[in-house]
Symmetry: C2
Subunit: 215 residues, 2 copies
């Protein structure tokens, strides 16, 4: 019974994910599903990215949080369209929530849509939202053991952003270990070291974004 | 079907939680379920607590991680008994896993048992493990918006530890906002500001632990 219900939920999710994927393909939209622990800096990263790229790209954001619309407010203030999903306790976004949210912004006019998932390094990785690629953010204060402890999430990432790199001097964080552990679970992941706060390393991330949109 | 299965899982969990609770009561063991985001400092807090209190208290730790037994190794090195549960993808511990783990350490000889849950600020809060109380750790680098964004987890805490307080000078973290937001969702929570790294503020936490054991 457990398995069959699990399959039913996942199969419903796959169906909606597939609809989302068709929509993104049809309108040539790059959609990125952004996954991290609470407080790794997803919103700060998006705010800075929007501020720096809004002249060149049409960017939309679908925000997922258990409660509050704080993050959508920050995205709106940065100059992008945003829609906030409040999951009211659920630990991840579903493809159906994203499907409905896409109707609330001018999605078909966008070059780039970010889905900021619920802050959780476990559950979101099990749910395909129809995104093109996944971006996993690891922040330096979380520690250098996280890729080994949460391998499934890192294995599914096209890109890993090591954020808050400006704090590395204040912390015991073995960057070589992190790079090696990510490589072990995911040899193909692109890795960028950056700070959404200071701006350090953001250009390489922007170059990668532009490549996705142009190809 | 969804509801009835959910009820079945939760009811099985309640049954095991109740057995655990009876065990802790019978042996006068204080059991604390420690919940936080990945990297908030659960293991570091326990290592320092064990190091400082092991002469006076018998402490055991049940560790939950998706993969690796790194954390149990650190606890063993600090001088406490530990048993590692690897959940292999599951986002929280269950009462049954704890029930089985209690047999792997000399649980009945302990004054204090910590259950270090899987790093996740959402899912663990829905599962009673039979613990006496919950300890939620919020680390300063995660940001001051977390109690408002994850109210369910903070509402269930007897104690909130604001960890990595030594980093506050390097970050934009509005401590007054955090204290107010915790109070809003949970007026009865005890709150301690501390740093498991530097030792700042640990004595008040130890005093609280000793009170629990003596009463």
């Amino acid at each position: 019974m457990k398995v069959s219900l699990g399959q039913k939920i996942l199969s419903r999710n796959e169906e909606c994910a597939s609809q989302n994927r068709d929509f993104f393909n049809k309108h040539k939209i790059v959609c990125l599903n952004v996954i991290s622990s609470p407080g790794a800096g997803k919103t700060s990263l998006l705010v800075r990215t929007i501020t720096d790229l809004r002249e060149r790209l049409q960017i939309g954001v679908i925000e997922g949080d258990i409660e509050t619309d704080n993050d959508a407010q920050k995205i709106l203030a940065a100059g992008a369209q945003a829609f906030q999903i409040q999951t009211k306790g659920a630990c991840h976004l579903s493809a159906e929530q994203v499907y409905n949210a896409l109707k609330m912004i001018d999605a078909e006019k966008m070059n780039l849509i970010f889905i900021e998932n619920v802050g959780n390094l476990v559950c979101p990785s099990a749910f395909d939202l129809g995104e093109g690629r996944r971006v996993v953010i690891l922040s330096v204060p979380e520690g250098d053991d996280k890729p080994a402890k949460y391998p499934g999430t890192f294995a599914g990432a096209s890109v890993v952003l090591i954020n808050k790199i400006d704090l590395i001097e204040h912390l015991d964080f073995n960057l070589q270990r992190v790079l090696a552990d990510i490589h072990t679970v995911n040899p193909n992941a692109k890795i960028f070291q950056l700070s959404a706060k200071t701006g350090q390393g953001m250009e390489a991330w922007y170059d990668w974004l532009k490549e996705q949109i142009e190809t």
